[in-house]
């Protein structure tokens, strides 16, 4: 029995080391964003490739019950027009289940969000991007690389996101553009 446990521990440790090795190896290259095709609240098909033809993509995972997610999207609202004129595609990915779907569009419009609000009731995108906490935001450049990931939100965190976007689209920014997707 001890032999078997040892063998398993060895196997798991090997797997862990290889994963760590691979993940760190990947850091030399920016990770590629997984493709997706979903519907927005108006029934239009939204797919990553089409969005990237227009510009880089910002997406934030949110839900009606998530207070901090709504605060983050409200805080980014004043920047929408600036970013839109520069080609940034901004998505708000709703994680509300099928039962809450009818409330999503009225809520988003009542908050005057101009983002493309995408529905993900079956967690397809959440699983694809391995989201563990809400809100989680991603910025994807036009080479389809994930250049920025941000978990959670606190008042003032929007400044980091705004700065990252400005860096990405070549505008003046506070921080250094690390370009490797790691902060």
């Amino acid at each position: 029995m001890k032999e078997e446990i040892r063998f398993k521990l060895l196997a798991i440790s090997s797997l862990f080391l290889l994963i760590v090795n691979f993940v760190f190896a990947q850091e030399k290259e920016l990770p590629t964003a997984p493709d997706f095709t979903l519907q927005d609240v108006d029934g239009n098909v939204v797919c990553l490739d089409s969005l990237l033809k227009k510009g880089p993509v910002f997406m934030s995972f949110w839900a009606l019950w998530c207070k901090m997610c709504i605060k983050e999207l409200d805080a980014l609202r004043p920047y929408y027009d600036e970013f839109d004129s520069l080609g940034l595609q901004m998505l708000a990915i709703s994680q509300d289940k099928a039962r809450a779907v009818p409330k999503v569009k009225p809520f988003a419009l009542s908050h005057k969000w101009k983002y493309t609000v995408v529905l993900d009731p079956d967690n397809i995108l959440r699983e694809l991007y391995n989201v563990q906490a809400m809100p989680t935001s991603f910025i994807i450049n036009q080479d389809k690389k994930i250049v920025f990931v941000h978990q959670g939100y606190k008042p003032g965190d929007e400044e980091i996101i705004v700065d990252k976007v400005r860096c990405l689209i070549g505008k003046k920014c506070k921080g250094e553009c690390k370009g490797k997707g790691h902060e």
Partner: protein, 528 residues
């Protein structure tokens, strides 16, 4: 989104079953990782991890008896062109071995190239709004309803067909432990069709879409002659500019499990939403009669929506009628207002349709929920939230017949630029049958963007009625200190020390009675 190959409770001293399969999977992963460098440009490995450790006083024993448990959930995805492989490694180990620990490995493999998606493994699926089939993951509530099997999606001509076959499994966290509510040999087969082919450009913004679905549940356990359960239905969505309506109907046919004889049920759901810039209105009407399908151990195959925002339902599609009204408006940039009025109850045809729908009469089991909330920004850097919630629960929290809660609350937030402060106050006045008590809570948070939030919360109950002592104990004071620390933008550590009072919590019609908690919680979440 995955499949368990090693799913069982580990009793102490009992060896892992399926060891060979487990090792095969590990070595397959190692092999894949070894060949990755040769295909590095097309391959992508990503994942996330959530590790959680609790150290707490056993609520059922004296204060010197401490328990702990560790939960670990690692998700890995490997993408290679149109192929995606996913694995979830889950491990939960409590200190009390008599409960038994739970570990499983789930996996799925998916091929996606328009117009086809093929998936083998563990997955989730909802048809329409869930009247016929709703197998979903509610990770934030620790409720995992999944299927293991095959799913095929075909898209084209503004339409989509989904075919699926799978065995259901439900993992649910309650009474401070993870439980498998169901892992049967029952089989679900279904087809769902949705089309927007009738849509065309027109000046009025009118468009419509249609859907139809069929689900069959084959129960291996049910020995009733000619036993079967089928659900079928359809839905229509029609839009006119900012006004959108949806109607879904579903019917259930089958035999009464173990008893035999014909069982017929049905359900309607109607929603209507008006979406304008700065104003949103949504209305909901639902009426279910014997539509909810569940197994002997309580597992549900479909999950008709409840209109109640706090997630409570009466009996989840067996005998329910209700409505929901929600208004959200931001007339000016500095203020927004939310109003909710929702109700769900059992039927009482003797009352007449109007009273049955809008009133919560004595004798009914039901929930009435009303709330109003205003959020205002007096200056660019400050936010004030003020509101009142009112909730009536009748025959929901037994042995109490009627419980009424009124909760006014106030939140103040000020952003000083380099840091922010948030203050919160709330009071809940509760009447449960003839007894009255109230809970007062105050919290203060200090935070720094990109760094941390430190919260101190204290809550006090003035007295504990007898029926509550049995469930939650005699405690009346719950202080709590929480630190949320951003290690990087991808890694967050959350530490919580103190007490939580427990009580009934619900999500999507599913409820659990949370045990009171006194101890330490540490959660580390990472995404890579």
């Amino acid at each position: 989104m995955s499949r368990s190959i090693n799913l069982q409770f580990w009793k102490s001293g009992v060896q892992i079953k399926n060891s060979e399969r487990f090792l095969k999977l590990i070595f397959t992963c190692i092999f894949v990782l070894l060949i990755l460098p040769a295909h590095g440009q097309d391959l992508r490995l990503s994942g996330s991890n959530r590790a959680e450790y609790w150290f707490f006083v056993d609520p059922n024993l004296d204060t010197t008896n401490y328990k702990d448990h560790l939960t670990e959930k690692l998700k890995l995805s490997l993408d290679y062109k149109e192929l995606t492989m996913r694995g979830i490694f889950f491990f939960w180990e409590p200190s009390l071995r008599t409960i038994g620990r739970l570990s499983y490995i789930d996996y799925s493999a998916q091929y996606k190239k328009d117009p086809v998606l093929l998936l083998y493994g563990r997955y989730y699926a909802t048809f329409g709004r869930g009247l016929c089939l709703n197998q979903f993951l509610d990770e934030d509530f620790n409720n995992d309803n999944s299927l293991f099997g095959v799913k095929v999606d075909l898209s084209g001509f503004k339409s989509r067909v989904t075919l699926l076959s799978g065995k259901p499994r439900n993992i649910f966290f309650e009474e401070l432990q993870y439980k498998i509510k169901n892992d049967t040999t029952d089989q679900i087969r279904g087809v769902n069709f949705e089309t927007s082919i009738l849509n065309f450009d027109n000046p009025w913004g009118f468009n419509t879409s249609l859907g139809g679905r069929y689900v069959r549940i084959n129960r291996k356990k049910d020995m009733t002659p000619k036993a079967f359960t089928e659900l079928f239905g359809g839905g229509i969505n029609f839009k006119l500019g900012p006004w959108e309506n949806y109607l879904e109907y579903a019917q259930r046919l089958g035999t009464i499990p173990r008893v035999g004889g014909r069982l017929k049920g049905d359900g309607y759901l109607f929603t209507s939403a008006l979406s304008l810039t700065g104003f949103g209105l949504s209305l909901q009407y639902m009426d279910y009669n014997d539509l909810g399908v569940f197994s002997e151990d309580g597992y549900r195959y479909n999950e008709p929506p409840t209109p109640i925002k706090s997630g409570i339902s009466v009996n989840r599609g067996v005998d329910e009628i209700g409505y929901g009204i929600a208004v959200v408006t931001s007339p000016f940039d500095f203020i927004s207002l939310e109003i909710d009025n929702n109700k769900v109850s059992t039927h009482d045809p003797g009352l007449g349709r109007f009273k049955e729908l809008f009133y919560l009469m004595d004798g009914m089991a039901g929930v009435l929920e009303q709330g109003v909330k205003a959020i205002t920004h007096p200056t660019e850097l400050s936010e004030i939230t003020i509101g009142v919630d009112y909730l009536v629960k009748q025959k929901i929290e037994l042995p109490v017949n009627k419980k009424t809660e009124t909760k006014p609350y106030l939140d103040l937030q000020y952003d000083f630029g380099t840091f922010f402060i948030e203050l919160g106050l709330e009071q809940t006045f509760t009447t449960s049958d003839t007894s009255k008590y109230n809970d007062r809570a105050a919290s203060v948070s200090v935070g720094k963007p990109e760094r941390f939030v430190l919260t101190l919360r204290v809550e006090k109950r003035n007295r504990v009625p007898g029926w509550l002592i049995e469930k939650l104990g005699k405690e009346t004071f719950w202080p709590m200190l929480e630190l949320s620390l951003d290690l990087t933008t991808r890694h967050n550590l959350r530490l919580r020390i103190g007490g939580e009072k427990g009580g009934l919590v619900c999500s999507g019609g599913v409820c659990r009675f949370e045990e009171p908690f006194r101890g330490i919680k540490a959660v580390l979440t990472s995404i890579f």
